[in-house]
Amino acid sequence: MVGHGDIRVVHRGGSKINSRQPVITQDSRFLLCASGECVKVFSTSTEECVHDLRGHTDAVTGVLLKPSNHLQAYSCSADGTVRLWDFTEGIHIKTYVIGYPVYSIYASAHHEGVIFVVTPMLNDKRSEVFQLVAVHLPQSGDQLVEALELSAVISDVSSNPAAIGFGKGGEFIASAKGLHLEVFFFKKQKSYRFSLKEDNKKGGKNTFMCVACHQKEDCIATGHEDGKIRLWRNFNHKKEYTFSTLHWHHSAVSSLCFTPEGTNLLSGGLESVLVQWRYNQESQRDFLPRLGSAITHIAVSPDGALFCTSHSDNKITIIQSSVKVSAVIQGLVKGESVRTDLMVDPRSKSLVLNGKPGQLQFYSLQRDKLLYNLDIVQQEYIHESGLEQFEVVKAAFDASGSWMATVEERNQKAAELELNLKLWAFDEQTQSFVLNTTISTPHEARITDMCFCHAADSQTTMLVSTSKDGHFKAWQLSAAAHTEDEGPSWSCDFVGAYHSLVPERCCFSADGSLLAVSFQEVVTVWSPASWELLTTLSQPPQAIRDLCFGRLSCSKYLLGTTASKLLCCWNLLTCSLEWSTTMDVSLLLADPLTENMAAFCFQAGGTDLFVFKPSEPRPLFSHKAVCSGKVTRAIFSPREEMLESCEESSQWLNRSQLHFLTQYMDLMTFTTKAEEDRLLASSRQLVVDDSVAMTPFYLLLGKHRQQETEDAVSSSLSSDTVPQSSAAIKQLLQTPAHVMPSTSYLCSMFVQSLLISVTDTREENKHAEEKMDSEREEEDSEEEMEPSNPRPQQASEACSLTKAQLRELRRVRKQDHSWSAGFL
């Protein structure tokens, strides 16, 4: 067995951005949200991810702006730490070690140096009982600080972060759990507890779902399971508390939020409608309907100008307070299950899978961004549970990515099965797939497998589909019969069957010359050219679960897995079983770029991964316990740039990456140590100008601009021109015209400011004269240099320069200094 070495299973891309409430920064320019193990900073205007704040080693469970410094943010994680970030620069400032998994974080401007976190009961890490703990952050300069001063505030709280909220002026904190609302007053150190009955007569469920506190008045809004919102008042009395009820939502209210001034209350739930209630005028409501999917969180920017809602389909919508959607940040859409396999679009190299109902999503793994959704079903989706609607169940791409086949079906349970096979052609002009052919009821029963012929050189493209009705069909593109203006369309070419057995899997060999179809226990090998049954393989008489041809040098091998935990490898030259081994392979797949094959084995509640070559007896790589549960969806995706790892165990990752979906729909991948280091290093280096969001577009343009400025600087060196921006000029340009003194006065000032450079040059002339004691000069200038940013490239260049260049360089330094002083 080969050890895993430094290969790790990580979340990379496609992680949830809707797990926790996002945070909008003070200036409304950035949006922070917890995403897997990092915090993502998005630009609210361009929707682009500005940077990832990496550092946590477990899922991030909360993000919060530091109340005393709006340019810093706390994040908490299940790894038991709270980290402080400078999110504009993407710099990690401090780590506070709490020591217990943290599930949510709260802070108030009125509690200096204290944060409130929800942790499991301190004595028992595993218990399901949570408590709200006040953490006094130690004032220490170290990067890593251990926070030891913990004190429990409320003992039995919900782990749902929406169920706790700070009240007006940080005077109290309200926590709801089950049927109880608890309000803790800090001044009196006393808590009040209010309970509701389990359900009312009409069957409405009173369970609390979320809590929000008014920031100017003593009013707590709570959302309930039956869709009611209660506004609690007078809650500093045990008995004389009172509440009013608002009811618009028909199912649970999942999130509530007051606007900062408290004039409006926002609520959202399953209806995917954002409701805006006027505070104290609750009969007036505004609605923002058709937000796509259920609202899970609502956040409001500190100035109240922007709202944002997270949705259950991994989406964050940014809404202007005029109730208009201004931006949508879409993550990888994850439903309860993926019916289609994971696929890679050969053109865009994006991951393709089920997205929103009836659609396929194209997700770029490299950029961690949803490219687009393709509506396959092209029917209105009705948001109602229990309704059977068309679903995309299969999809396949041909080798060049110019054709895509999809299968949609409806009403799986009843006898009548509605099936559609659709073929999509890639349109170069619109750069998207266009529906070419719709074949309704391609088979009598459900389609079990479908694959395109992979041969790149073959003239015609062929699609083979197998179905439970006992047939497999080959579909081919043929020119339209009747009219010219219609393009070529797909039609059935061949119908095959074998002893009325049910075909399960089909697979083309790499060159497209062979088609293997598994009929329960029998593997049949056909020649697609003549539709001749070449041979049958039925060595181990067991039902075939998976079938796969080897690639490249191993293309003579056909691999299959059986239901009875056997992995077999047939040699097609000898038509005999080459080898077989006992393992419960849940998924077998081949890397299209190498000979490697990956097998996910389900063992004792966990899944192991083996990577092997069919021709070699020893696995290249094995990883025990990749994740818990069964892995049924995985894909090799080609890398953009090849890795040059020479280690034996990680070589298989050089050309492609292996992604897989766990039981809980987490997209995981394998990375090597070197790759991670590189990634971490690149994220540290990022220095972003305050004013512009760091988007790829900016990086592209910005690089160009930087070059320009550098050119300008270098040209200014040679031609002794005016410094780029002196204080005077800057002032001149920035001061409004009506407050400026007269032009005549300014003119002399302006000229004077130009004269500075003259003295400068004179000085430099002096330098030129005093060539001899350059040593001393350099020391001086070194000291002067100090406040400005050192340029490491220049410094490294400096050591191997001639004297003339050195002089030049000194001048550059002088120049540099005055130039940056202009900024200061």
Partner: protein, 683 residues
Amino acid sequence: MAEFKVHRVRFFDYMPTAIRAMAFNPRTERLAVARADGALEIFNFADNYFQEKVIPGQDGRAAEALCWLGQRLFSAGLNGEITEYDLENLRPRYTVEAYGGPIWSISSNSQGSLLAVGCEDGTVKIFEILEERIQFQRNLDRQKGRIISLCWHPSGTLIAAGMMDMIKIFDAESGRATHRLLVERGVGASKSREVVVWSIAFLSDHTIISGDSAGKVQVWDGLTGTLVRTHLVTKWDVLALSSSQDESSVVAGTSEGTVVQFQFLSSNVGQQDKEWVRTRTFKNHSHDVRGLAHTDTAVVSGGMDTQLVVRPLLDKVEKNTQESALRKIAFPHRSLVCCAKKAGLLLFQFPDHLELWRLGESNGHGSPGDSLPVKRKPEKLIQLKRKGEDHISCSALSPCGGWLAYSTVSSFRLYRLQNNTISVTKVSRLPKDLRSAQQLCFSSDSTKLFASSCRSSVLVVDLNQSDCKYLHTLRPKSGSSQPIHLLCVSEDGKWLATANTDCLIHVFNLDKLKLHCTVPVYSSCPTAIAIHPTNSNLVVVHADQQIFEYSLVQKEYTEWSRKLQKQGLHPLWMERDTPITHIAFNPKNPAHIILHDTFMFCIIDQNLPLPEAKTPLYNQMTLRSLPESERIMHSHAFKICKNFQHLLCVRLLEDHSLVVVERPLLDILSQLPAPVRQKKFAT
């Protein structure tokens, strides 16, 4: 439990009338309720919401507004008259014509010296209250529109009047209007319709709260005449408003049947600035809420759906007590049905007529729970319309079925019935003293008629074959002025028991025609009394559900009664919210007492042990499942049957069959007019 043949009667089309107005007297804790037919009911909130008094209505007299003035009760109606009621004789004392057209509202100042009425012609008329009557004092400035609602400022110097499209504030001294507050009309189509200020409240801090036909509850500053806050409560009308004594809470009743509470709360804990915030919404009515009263612990509402609902405010009462339970009072607390035991006849009392029915017959035999085939259908023998304007206040049918008597506040009538030929002859020569009665009762041998009249006296009238003769007037010594509400004669004709609303129970010896004894006074009003046929024990059930048994011979409580008091009644028995309205005895088994309220009837077996607090009270079903031998162990004195619901009457006939008169609430509900249309979710 014994087995009975049951006549299940559902042909009594009793229809309560809508509640029009309501007034609560916090000092005496009495609630006066005016119904659409002019009837007035007084409920005692201190005594389990018992309906103490009913003043029958009169054609053409319907109170639009009610007002308490100390112990005195005034009403005003659209007939333009102000009426004061005589609560001791249960009749209007006098009426005063206001000469201002229909009167919409009536309100007294807090000093109790002046009464203001708002009239159709736009005048607010001030009446001075004198000892025995009221006297017109003056008019305030006459306005253009009608005065719909009125409210005095607690200081008595200002009056706020709700009108069409506006509210006016009058100075009570000068009679000048000092402020005019314009009320905004509704939006959309109702923009062209005038908005009616249905109800108004004037608080001591000069805050005016108004409810109007556009569905708004508005808070005004009465000093400056400015609008402070508008709460849009409903799409329809806000019909009634009521504020609590301490002025920290106001409730508003709407056409949708909801009652909305507003509370005067400080927006920030510990600070003084308070504002009116809409808090709770109660929906206990299907129709308009016309009458509303805010007591210290509850919101009392009534309206078109005829039910009186007492909704406790849970922040003011102890949780999970009897006080914290919602109460709906749908039926009167006295019987409207009279049953001739021997003849098998039923007399139903309606406000304007009487119906006499003969029960059906069946000769079938069946096992318990079966419904028997009907041999002869029940038939309506007589429908007797009353004479005059006044509504029937009480009626009685003699046990033999030969005599029928009814009374209004102004007249008394006695009829002789010929059963076999179905003929009615009025007895023309009546004793002079018998002019009207509050309660009527025949002796069991149908030879005597007892009629209660003023000052708790009872007239005894001897009935012959065809005429009647005055015998005696029985007067209690105590001289209580309250009216008698219960009369009961023993089977042997020896004893007569009376109960009045002062909680006094007198027993008279009819042989000697004098007072025999007075039962020790209990604090709660008796709701049913009966004298046992064999051992002459008086059984009394009170409004607080207590049961007493008093031996008339020994003049003391019986052993069983003492035991019951010592052990206490079962908590579930105490929690029932309708009073026992009738007591009967099973002649087959002298130990059995048969009681009923609206939701159950119960047989108390005095021989069996009383139930412990922990044992289940309703155990008939579990007993049935037990084997014969174990039943004795588990059975207790209270055998309760809930098979019949919404009972108006349960009587035992001579032939040991039981008559059960039901009036399902759904039947009443289905006869009501359609409520305002409301959009229901998912329809």
